[in-house]
């Protein structure tokens, strides 16, 4: 608590915290000084002159700006005096001189500070009778934001946001006086990943949202508090709906998660929820090779329940599998694995990025912790593309607190522009890179001394050898050793694929040697990557991270569910697809999962399955192969909870409902399907004969009436979700505590043990495949949720293979030229794009491009993010053409 000091406003003394801005202090004592340029999240500027008050300066009353004055003991102000009031009225009159007053067509109308303050503080008349200045209206400053220069009152908020939070000064003030305009620099439209926040910051309608433009009026939308589900950060948003459509997404303040910012994907990419291509009715294919026909829910659910139960009976439960998704809510993920384990009796349940990734289920300690670090190590993760709001916090740490960044990434990502070090590597060299750094650390006597106490030290020193450390490595080691509060963030790319275990071991060795293993955090990729693991949407782990083989944990769930659970671990994502291709997996249930879009291998596997059920929003590539398609609803159309990368369980409440669609929430589909399960239905019948009123045990197990009731059961199934409830979560969610994880499998993740490095046979880069393919996430890809949006084509990543200009010159490739790229498992054709951020000797293709070129070349998701490829000009065969 800061010291309280006494200030005088209008002859009344008030106690306010020392050093606070006068506008903020006045707010505490219920004096509402009007502001435009001042904003609690931006540095004070004093540009708009709206907050003028009088101050006693050595006995003379002077007009000053309240938003730039920090209060101190004994200061005297006048707010309501005639001179101060007159000054504010005059300011407003001047601001309105050239303001077009086209409020009826302005999107800000109804929630506009200029309107509100004109009514509250304005003179009510204008003395200005001349012709207003005319400037550019309808002037796009980016693909997503429209500028109206006439409406602008030059408050600098947009300029300051881009400088202070994004650290991308892409807007500037041009000309002077009444000709002043906000503009971008020639040929460089705004492309910051969180640029949409300037729309909300704008105190007038100068900056408007091109996706939602003219599609809403603030007073007639139904506004529901929810969260964003595009990435793992779980930014708090408000969904504005009208006539059953999602018209606008705006940010909601949650200081712990997103401050009050959201990224452009969260703000602009929501058209999928209302897309006309959405599935609206269940579809059934009566025989293989036939067409999908529309069907009723009863018929479709009974068919799925019977076929899955029949396959489990005849072929054994291991012949049935389910692939969920890390985009499913906790409730959907929990019920999917409960259905598979409890009714089918199979542990074949996983999701993309599930068992194949050696994720640390504890995630990040807390999102805002990154702002306290003085060295942030980004290992194989690019927050600017993967969690853009987290990236703004990292930039804030760099800019405001002088933090340094140590970046290890195959591509020279954007944040390498900051002080620190950048260590490039090619996929497959991760472990070697960390071993090099460990060697560097061990050259320091104090590190060696401290590490000598750790188990496995001798083996590690032995395994590391004594090869020299290069200059970049030495610089990284120096940064690491000079940091007081280092923090290591690593992403799924580092801990998936064949070398996942070795990579993680080498990373953990490095962290242990640097004394920062407690501050080494995994950044989960998707909206509910953490939650899906907590819910047991994994082949070898039950809800609450109880291992399948862990008898007490299993028995606890057996009592809760009233069934016997299978004891053998099931198959993972890739193993299930392999088993399907080999004919061992006979029935597959896909929920929000689309393996067929990941190249020919996935398609072939799905075609071999006897019975394929797809529960989806759209008729995806996989759904086109399905025997039964069940229409699900998006996150905006049902209640659900999601657990973000810092273990925060947050609510996403239902905002809209399409009355013309029969699509149903996932939890309801699972519940109704379970009631039709032959065993459950039979039991209910048998019990019904005995007593009309009493329902069966199994049927009672599946009697959920709402998503909140499912959450109630989750709190009993997963110990860390204990005490949570839909109401208790509130608007800001709750982090599940790590303290409860002591003694559980979670605590085993952080062993303080050094692991000797693996002996790797160094595979020489064979001439046959001279390039390393680098695949990774970009913010605007072509995933299922992006594909349906009109803005996609304007902002999405270029459909191309990026190559270093030096490599392109050697291969004699020109930009835009189609090239054929082939790996051991696949071949694609893409145009060339020259990109200096791509290392020589590597090719960069983002995931989720049309036709899935990266996935095709990698072969499977668990292959990690790298493969060896070769490149040749021209299209080799038209049949394999992509895009």
């Amino acid at each position: 608590m800061p010291d309280l000091i006494t200030i005088t406003i209008d002859d009344v003394e008030y106690k306010v915290p020392n050093g606070m801005l006068l506008t903020d202090a006045a707010k505490l004592i219920n004096i509402d000084i009007p502001v435009f340029c001042s904003h609690p999240k931006l540095d004070p500027l004093g540009a708009c002159r709206m907050c003028l008050v009088e101050q006693d300066v050595r006995g003379r009353w002077m007009i000053v700006t309240a938003c730039t004055i920090r209060v101190a003991e004994g200061m005297k102000f006048r707010y309501a005096s005639p001179a101060a009031t007159q000054a504010r009225e005059d300011t407003l009159e001047f601001l309105l001189i050239n303001h077009p007053l086209d409020c009826p067509i302005c999107d800000k109308g109804g929630e506009c500070p200029l309107q509100d303050q004109t009514l509250k503080h304005g003179p009510g008349v204008s003395q200005f009778q001349e012709i207003k200045n005319h400037k550019a209206k309808r002037y796009p400053i980016s693909d997503l934001i429209m500028l109206d220069q006439e409406r602008c009152i030059i408050c600098w908020r947009c300029i300051r946001y881009l400088e202070e939070w994004e650290d991308k000064p892409q807007l500037g003030l041009f000309h002077r006086g009444d000709r002043s305009v906000i503009d971008f620099f020639p040929g460089q439209p705004v492309d910051a990943k969180t640029s949409g926040n300037i729309i909300e910051l704008c105190p007038v309608g100068a900056l408007t949202n091109r996706v939602s433009r003219f599609r809403y009026r603030p007073w007639d939308t139904k506004n529901i508090d929810s969260i964003c589900v595009h990435c793992s950060q779980g930014c708090n948003v408000r969904l504005d709906g009208r006539i059953h459509q999602l018209r606008r997404v705006v940010a909601r303040e949650n200081m712990a998660v997103n401050d009050e910012w959201i990224c452009d994907k969260g703000r602009f990419i929501h058209a999928f929820a209302d897309a006309p291509e959405r599935l609206t009715t269940p579809l059934i294919r009566d025989h293989k090779g036939g067409e999908l026909r529309e069907a009723g829910w009863e018929e479709a659910l009974a068919l799925v329940a019977q076929r899955l139960a029949f396959t489990a009976d005849v072929q054994g439960p291991a012949a049935v599998g389910a692939l969920g998704s890390a985009k499913l809510s906790n409730e959907a993920a929990y019920l999917l694995q409960k259905l598979m384990r409890g009714l089918v009796g199979s542990n074949n349940v996983d999701h993309r990025g599930g068992a194949a990734v050696l994720a640390d289920p504890r995630g990040l300690s807390a999102i805002r912790d990154v702002e306290q670090a003085d060295l942030i190590v980004l290992a194989g993760v690019d927050p600017a593309e993967e969690q853009p709001v987290l990236a703004t916090f990292i930039r804030r740490a760099v800019r405001r607190r002088g933090a340094k960044l140590l970046i290890l990434h195959p591509r020279q990502i954007e944040d390498t522009r900051y002080p620190g070090a950048y260590l490039p590597y090619k996929p497959g060299q991760e472990a070697a890179l960390f071993e090099g750094l460990s060697r560097g650390l061990l050259q320091e006597a104090r590190v060696k001394e401290r590490a000598a106490r750790l188990a496995g030290f001798a083996d590690l020193v032995d395994g590391l050898g004594n090869a020299a450390v290069d200059a970049a490595g030495a610089e990284a080691v120096r940064l690491m050793l000079s940091a007081q509060r280092p923090m290591i963030l690593y992403g799924p790319a580092l801990v998936s694929g064949r070398a996942a275990a070795a990579n993680r071991a080498s990373l953990m060795n490095f962290a242990l040697l640097a004394g920062c293993v407690e501050r080494t955090f995994y950044l989960a990729p998707e909206a509910n990557s953490v939650g899906a693991r907590d819910m047991g949407l994994l082949p070898a782990s039950l809800p609450g991270h109880a291992a399948i083989g862990d008898a007490p944990g299993r028995e606890r769930l057996e009592r809760l569910w009233g069934v016997k659970l299978p004891t053998q671990p099931g198959l993972g994502y890739d193993e299930m697809l392999e088993a399907a291709a080999a004919g061992r997996l006979r029935a597959l249930y896909l929920v929000g999962s689309d393996p067929a879009s990941q190249g020919p291998a996935g398609q072939a596997a799905l075609q071999k399955v006897d019975f394929l059920v797809v529960q989806e929003l759209f008729l995806t590539e996989s759904a086109k192969l399905a025997d039964v398609v069940l229409p699900a609803v998006s996150w905006a159309e049902t209640d659900g909870t999601f657990t973000n990368l810092e273990r925060r369980v947050q609510r996403a409440a239902q905002a809209i409902a399409n009355p013309h669609s029969q699509a149903a929430p996932d939890w309801l589909i699972f519940t109704e399907m379970a009631k039709l399960w032959p065993a459950v239905a039979g039991e209910a019948k048998a019990e019904g004969k005995k007593s009309k009123r009493k329902s069966s045990g199994a049927a009672r197990q599946w009697g959920y009436g709402s998503a909140a009731e499912v959450l109630d059961e989750i709190t009993r199934a997963a110990p860390m979700y204990d005490k949570l409830s839909w109401d208790a979560l509130g608007d800001e969610g709750t982090q599940w505590p790590l303290a409860d994880a002591a003694g559980s499998p979670l605590s085993a993740v952080a062993s303080r043990r050094l692991t000797p490095p693996e002996r790797r046979s160094v595979a020489p880069g064979r001439d046959e495949y001279p390039y390393a393919l680098v695949a990774g996430q970009v913010l605007f890809d072509y995933g299922t949720l992006m594909r349906q949006t009109e803005v996609t084509e304007r902002v999405a990543a270029p459909v191309a293979v990026s190559i270093n200009p030096a490599d392109a010159a050697r291969e004699k490739l020109a930009a835009g030229q189609p090239v054929s790229i082939s790996s051991a498992v696949g071949q694609v054709v893409l145009p060339v794009r020259l990109d200096e951020t791509v290392q020589p000797g590597t090719l960069w293709i983002p995931y989720s491009l049309p036709g899935a070129p990266a996935e095709t070349l990698l072969g499977s998701v668990s292959a990690g993010s790298g493969a060896r490829v070769r490149i040749a000009p021209g299209a080799l065969s038209s049949s394999e053409k992509v895009g």
Binding site: P104, I105, F214, R217
Partner: protein, 158 residues
């Protein structure tokens, strides 16, 4: 038994009554042969809505939805969209993609007219609104933009 006085009184009363009848025969009838003839309404009578156009053919309505906000019965529904600059529907950037008035709800109060910043929506004197179905009581923009001849006459102002 009726006396002579009664007969005389009766005759006078009949003659008086017939006098009224005969006088009425000579005056013009007030019945209006609607719909063959127009009905005269007062100049400020508030009837069915019309969306006006400018002389150059552009719609006045800019889709601001202030009429919708002002409507006390929720009878108006407006959905706006952005004008194609090459081929605008209305002047400026915004136009009404959808404009509907539900005449089962409308109370003809004229608040929409008051709220309109561009004098696009006005209440005409047209009162005939019978329809066969409830559904067709919701008038869409095309119907409101070009109202049919309502066959009414305006009474001279007093």
């Amino acid at each position: 038994m009726a006396g002579l006085g009664d007969v005389v009184r009766g005759t006078v009363q009949i003659a008086e009554a017939m006098g009224v009848t005969l006088k009425a025969l000579a005056t013009k009838p007030v019945t209006v042969e609607y719909p063959d003839e127009p009905i005269a309404v007062f100049p400020r009578y508030r009837g069915r809505h019309m969306l006006r156009r400018y002389d150059n053919g552009l719609e006045r309505c800019i889709g601001c939805a202030l009429c919708e906000a002002a409507c006390p019965t929720g009878a108006i529904y407006v959905d706006a969209a952005e004008n194609d600059p090459e081929n605008p529907v209305s002047p400026g950037e915004r136009y009404a993609k959808t404009y509907e008035v539900n005449f089962m709800r409308c109370v003809f109060c004229g608040d929409c007219e008051e709220a309109c910043p561009v004098e696009a929506v006005v209440l005409t004197q047209a009162f005939p609104l019978p329809e066969q179905e409830r559904r067709s009581m919701i008038f869409v923009k095309e119907q409101l933009l070009e109202p049919p001849d309502a066959n009414i006459a305006i009474r001279p102002a007093h």
